[in-house]
Amino acid sequence: MNKILSIKNLKKIYHTKQGETLAVDNFSFNLLDGEFVAIVGPSGCGKSTILSILCGLEKKSDGEIKIRDNCKIGYMLQQDSLFNWRTILRNCLLGIEITEDLNDENKQHVINLLETYGLKDFINSYPQNLSGGMRQRVALIRTLATKPDILLLDEPFSALDYQSRLAVSDDVYRIIKSEHKSVIMVTHDIAEAISMADRIIVMTKRPGTIKNIYNIELTNKSTPIENRKAKEFAHYYELIWKDLDFHV
């Protein structure tokens, strides 16, 4: 398969008055077309930093990032940050308004996405009237509206309770797969990572580098909820758990 994104020896130092923090060091990997990669690691190891650099919100200190020509990146932040003075539809149009790509065709695309993914009745509602899971789906569609080729997800489900988390991760997975996106997802949740990803990158604690990379091969791979029943699941869980358990 083809590389859509390649990162080589990425390094990030944050400078503050208190001093400097080496957040990420020597981080390299390639994202393939249509691949779903999850990044897990202890808190503060630089996961969000990596996504922010990829999206251009932060500058890298060193290293090389190559993105295939004409590839767009979409970033779904941890907080849904829906604007409560805009309707759901207008929230979803925010990105293309900013890039000045708002036309009938793109608008119809967004409406279709909303209809396909179960938000048809809420197009003209305001975010206050939506459940947490629905809001998360709206946030995803807002990101998809700009037609990105690579999706960056930063703990997309952490604001949800366990039940909706399972359901919404299923929904989101379905949406992403049917839109054929390549994904990098950051999560704290090992089970979530195994159930969704093709590959999992485990990071060390700060300064974050790569500790291990696992190719996740499950028998009868299907939706995230079903994948949790695969017999290899526990095995991967064990491996990653050991990687993350720094006290041993």
């Binding site: 251009g56 919100l57 604007f83 990105g95 900013i98």
Partner: protein
């Protein structure tokens, strides 16, 4: 349509509201009556305390000599001019300060000092510079309202949710887009409520200005009354001021309500 219980509940609320209003009204009527009675039995000296009847007489007198509406009109006119100017300038400066962090940091201590300075102290200078006319009054009122307006609106801007700003940046929004699509709408309610403070501040400034320079307006009426020791005129002036400021406040509050609940 509603259940019996809900009807009872609604009725209870209505009765409660009515009782509050009734008590409010009774208090003012009681106080006015007491005042009048004390005056009638000459327990208090109406030469310094005036009385409700005298106030009404003075009002009628002002009405007959056609002065009343001129004074009220002038004060309202000055207030509206200063209020609009204050809001506009406050808004503009707050925007510039948000746009330019460096400038904001430079200006910060000056704003704080200006804000804590009793503006009336500047009165004499203003009169010398701008002349003993309406200009001085408007400048006075502006000074009093504009600093607060700048500070409240600017604060609203800086308190915008950083995650929302990050979201805008992730779509590569420029500063203008962040301002128009995020800052303005998210601090809308904050801006509107700053108007409510602003209108009262402006009226204070106008009356203070009228104390110092004018030949017309409610502030002048009060000042003139005290100079010729006509306490009827002074208290009538205060009474008119109460009514005018209440009406202005309710108009702004009404507009606020309309705008916020569109």
């Amino acid at each position: 349509m509603y259940s019996e219980e809900h009807k009872k509940y609604l009725k209870k609320i209505r009765i409660n509201n009515f009782l509050v209003r009734l008590t409010q009204l009774s208090i003012i009527i009681f106080l006015l009556l007491l005042w009048q009675l004390l005056a009638d039995f000459t327990i208090i000296n109406t030469f310094i305390t005036s009385s409700p009847k005298d106030i009404i007489k003075t009002l009628i007198n002002l009405h007959n000599t056609n002065n009343l509406y001129q004074h009220i009109g002038i004060t309202i006119y000055e207030t509206i001019i200063s209020f609009s100017l204050g809001t506009f300038i406050g808004f503009l400066v707050a925007t510039i300060l948000w746009w330019n962090r460096f400038l904001a940091r430079v200006i910060d201590p000056y704003l704080t000092i200006l804000n804590s300075l009793p503006k009336v102290a500047l009165g004499p200078i203003i009169i010398i510079w701008a002349g003993a006319n309406m200009k001085s009054i408007i400048i006075m009122a502006l000074l009093i309202s504009v600093i607060v307006t700048i500070i409240t609106i600017y604060q609203g801007f800086t308190e915008t949710d950083p995650n929302k700003i990050k979201l805008m940046q992730s779509f590569r929004a420029n500063k203008k887009q962040i301002y128009l699509k995020l800052l303005l709408p998210s601090s809308f309610s904050n801006i509107i409520s700053s108007l409510k403070i602003n209108i009262s501040m402006t009226l204070i400034g106008v009356v203070m200005g009228e104390f110092l320079v004018s030949k017309k307006g409610i502030g002048y009426l009060i000042m003139y009354g005290s100079q010729v020791f006509n306490l009827n005129l002074v208290i009538t002036g205060i009474f008119i001021l109460c009514v005018v400021s209440a009406i202005m406040y309710y108009i702004v509050a009404y507009i606020e309500n309309k705008l916020l609940n569109k």
